[in-house]
């Protein structure tokens, strides 16, 4: 990669402008509805955080270079070029004040995919060298070490060892011909080992073969969050190579929203071809097993609980029904938040915000949206299906001194799983 520069940044933004982007800018009437959908605007009241304003540099490049009228205006000095100052000014709008949650895209009356454009404009900002330190660090670690949090294979092997020691369960490493290849997020390796145990239990009970690849165990893709398609492509390619080498039928994206968007939707477009395997989110797999009668559950949680929808799962992923079906199997008192499913509110830490320490103060402000939803419901437990949401929620709840435990849905299901006795299996 050559050194970052403003010219390069502008060039990268230019390359992102396609017919959809041009139609979005042509259609925008500056109605401001996107602001009403945005938690960063909503919790701060700062009009600069109006979603469409976050892509203003891209709009200017589009108008100056892709429209006759803009070119004429340019000739008469009626439009301003995008400069270094703009990159400096917009950097925090593009990275700190957007979690790529996609709510704005759903409310825009003319159908503009604004969050999709923010994802695109980040390509230019990272190429220009205007990206947050935290995300640059995470991306560098992902490329060089294999995980944004710097987790290496021995940590995974240690977890596999502990699992075997504590429960006798196997987590097969590099098993060619397995049906499923399970990806993990660093967060699950470091903070939530319950996830691997839950998967091991469920797979065993369902009678499915599965494996973890030593070459590509990490699911998250910092290249997408920072907006560096070349790096994002390399991270996806690792997973694709591993999955095709092991000959698995399905790759399972873990409880992580952005990882799912990355591997499920962006991946094939980044590497320029369709996969030879399927990609499913763990909740899709679990719901499928349930539908096939492979899993039975016993006992129900009586605590009042609600489900926090990870944005990437509901709005970008379409995984809406599955968590509800699954949660109702093991919970007696499941209640919905006012805005849930496709209109849920972000945890405030998506889209790279949680990896960007500079944004912490803003993130905690934005978290007040989730806080007010939770205050309204007064639940005993908060369930989710994304390790990044989970850590962000835990931090937010701690910041506001709210005592609500946050649990992953997969592990909650595993706790209620009816498991056959060892001797019956043989």
């Amino acid at each position: 990669m050559s050194a970052p520069s403003v010219e390069k940044g502008i060039q990268f933004i230019r390359e992102q402008i396609d017919a959809p982007v041009a139609s979005f800018f042509s259609s925008c009437v500056h109605c401001g509805m996107c602001a009403e959908a945005c938690l960063f605007y909503g919790q701060t009241g700062d009009p600069r955080y109006t979603p469409i304003n976050k892509v203003e540099p891209m709009r200017r490049i589009w108008e100056r270079e892709f429209t006759l009228w803009g070119r004429i205006k340019g000739l008469f000095g009626l439009s301003r070029k995008v400069t270094e100052k703009d990159f400096a000014e917009w950097e925090t709008l593009v990275y700190d004040a957007c979690s790529l949650c996609g709510r704005c895209s759903l409310v825009c009356p003319v159908g503009n995919d604004i969050s999709g454009m923010i994802r695109k404009i980040r390509e230019g900002f990272s190429a220009a060298g205007y990206a947050p330190e935290g995300l640059i660090g995470a991306t560098t670690r992902a490329i060089e070490i294999g995980s944004p949090m710097g987790v290496k294979l021995p940590a995974v092997q240690a977890q596999i060892g502990h699992l075997k020691q504590d429960t006798g369960l196997e987590a097969p490493l590099d098993q060619a011909g397995a049906e499923y290849m399970v990806l993990l997020s660093s967060m699950e390796i470091m903070n939530f080992p319950e996830y691997m145990e839950a998967v091991a239990r469920i797979m065993k009970q369902a009678g499915k073969t599965w494996t973890i690849s030593s070459k590509a165990f990490e699911a998250t893709n910092s290249g997408i969050q920072i907006g560096a398609s070349d790096l994002a492509r390399e991270l996806v390619q690792r997973v694709v190579d591993a999955a095709e080498e092991l000959g698995v039928k399905t790759v399972i994206s873990p409880e992580c929203g952005h990882a799912y968007t990355a591997i499920r939707w962006e991946g094939p477009n980044l590497i320029g071809r369709a996969y030879k395997f399927k990609v499913q989110h763990i909740l899709e797999v679990l719901d499928e097993f349930r539908g096939q009668g492979l899993l039975k559950f016993e006992g129900k949680e009586t605590a009042k609980m609600t489900f926090h929808d990870p944005c990437q799962l509901v709005r970008k992923g379409g995984v809406i029904k599955q968590p509800r079906t699954l949660l109702n199997l093991v919970a007696d008192n499941f209640v919905e938040m006012t805005d849930h499913a496709s209109m849920n509110w972000c945890c405030s830490g998506g889209g790279g915000v949680s990896a960007n320490e500079r944004a912490d103060e803003l993130k905690f402000k934005a978290f007040r949206q989730k806080k007010s939803q939770l205050d309204e419901l007064q639940v005993d437990t908060l369930v989710t299906a994304c390790a990044n949401c989970r850590i962000t929620l835990e931090e937010g709840l701690e910041e506001y001194e709210m005592d609500i435990p946050v649990v992953g849905l997969t592990e909650m299901l595993a706790e209620h799983l009816v498991e056959d006795k060892q001797e019956e299996q043989a």
Binding site: A22, T67, G111, S342
Partner: protein, 219 residues
């Protein structure tokens, strides 16, 4: 130039020129969009992009409940303006006569008293839109000169039409000429402002809806 001569010019060559530039301008804008193309989505889909595109073109005409609750006035006012404007444009008798002469196609008109009332409502809703734009911090912040130009060229034809119909301020002939000239101004300006949304909204809704349909997600 006498008022009659001005009216004759405004009705004749001026109108044809303005209309021609409007049509060519809009076609150019649409060409500028479409010629950029887009890459196919290589991710394995769950549904039909075409169905999704059509669905979003239709469903985006309705607001999401949670956003409606936050901005009911702005949203209702948007409906009032658009519906009022279209009804006056398409169902006022003399307008239909004009369409008939240009397109060879006519349809029944609404009573002119109703059109008169609709004109007032439409004008008031535009006025409210301006007040909202000037008083909301978000709208003020994101508004450009172009937004106010678009507002003015949209308001003028309704205002002059209303004055002409009710024989207010100026002699009828002068007002009618002004009405036509203001429409011509609107036609000339529209392709170079956000007023392009009158056609491009179909494309923008289509693109988001197409991707959503292919991926099996809501839009």
């Amino acid at each position: 130039m006498s008022a009659e001569a001005l009216l004759t010019w405004a009705r004749g060559p001026a109108f044809d020129w303005a209309l021609g530039i409007f049509v060519l301008g809009m076609l150019l804008r649409l060409f500028e969009v479409l010629s950029l193309g887009r890459s196919p989505d290589l991710a394995e889909g769950r549904g039909s992009g075409v169905q999704g595109g059509i669905r979003t073109i239709l469903t985006r005409s309705l607001p999401r409940a949670s956003v409606f609750a936050r901005e009911p006035v702005r949203i209702i006012n948007g409906y009032v303006f658009h519906i009022g404007f279209l009804l006056v444009l398409l169902f006022y008798g003399p307008h239909i006569e004009l369409f008939q002469s240009k397109l060879g196609l006519g349809w029944p008109a609404l009573p002119s008293g109703v059109i008169d009332g609709l004109g007032v409502i439409t004008l008031l809703s535009l006025l409210l839109a301006l007040v909202l734009r000037l008083t909301s911090p978000v709208l003020r912040y994101i508004s450009t000169v172009s937004d106010y130009v678009a507002w003015a060229v949209t308001a003028l034809p309704i205002l002059t039409g209303y004055l002409a119909y009710n024989h207010l301020l100026l002699p009828y002939t002068n007002l009618l000429a002004l009405h036509l000239l203001s429409i011509e101004l609107l036609l000339l300006v529209a392709p170079f402002t956000k007023l392009t949304h009158m056609f491009s909204f179909v494309l923008s809704r289509w693109y988001q809806g197409y991707q959503a349909g292919h991926r099996g997600i809501e839009s």
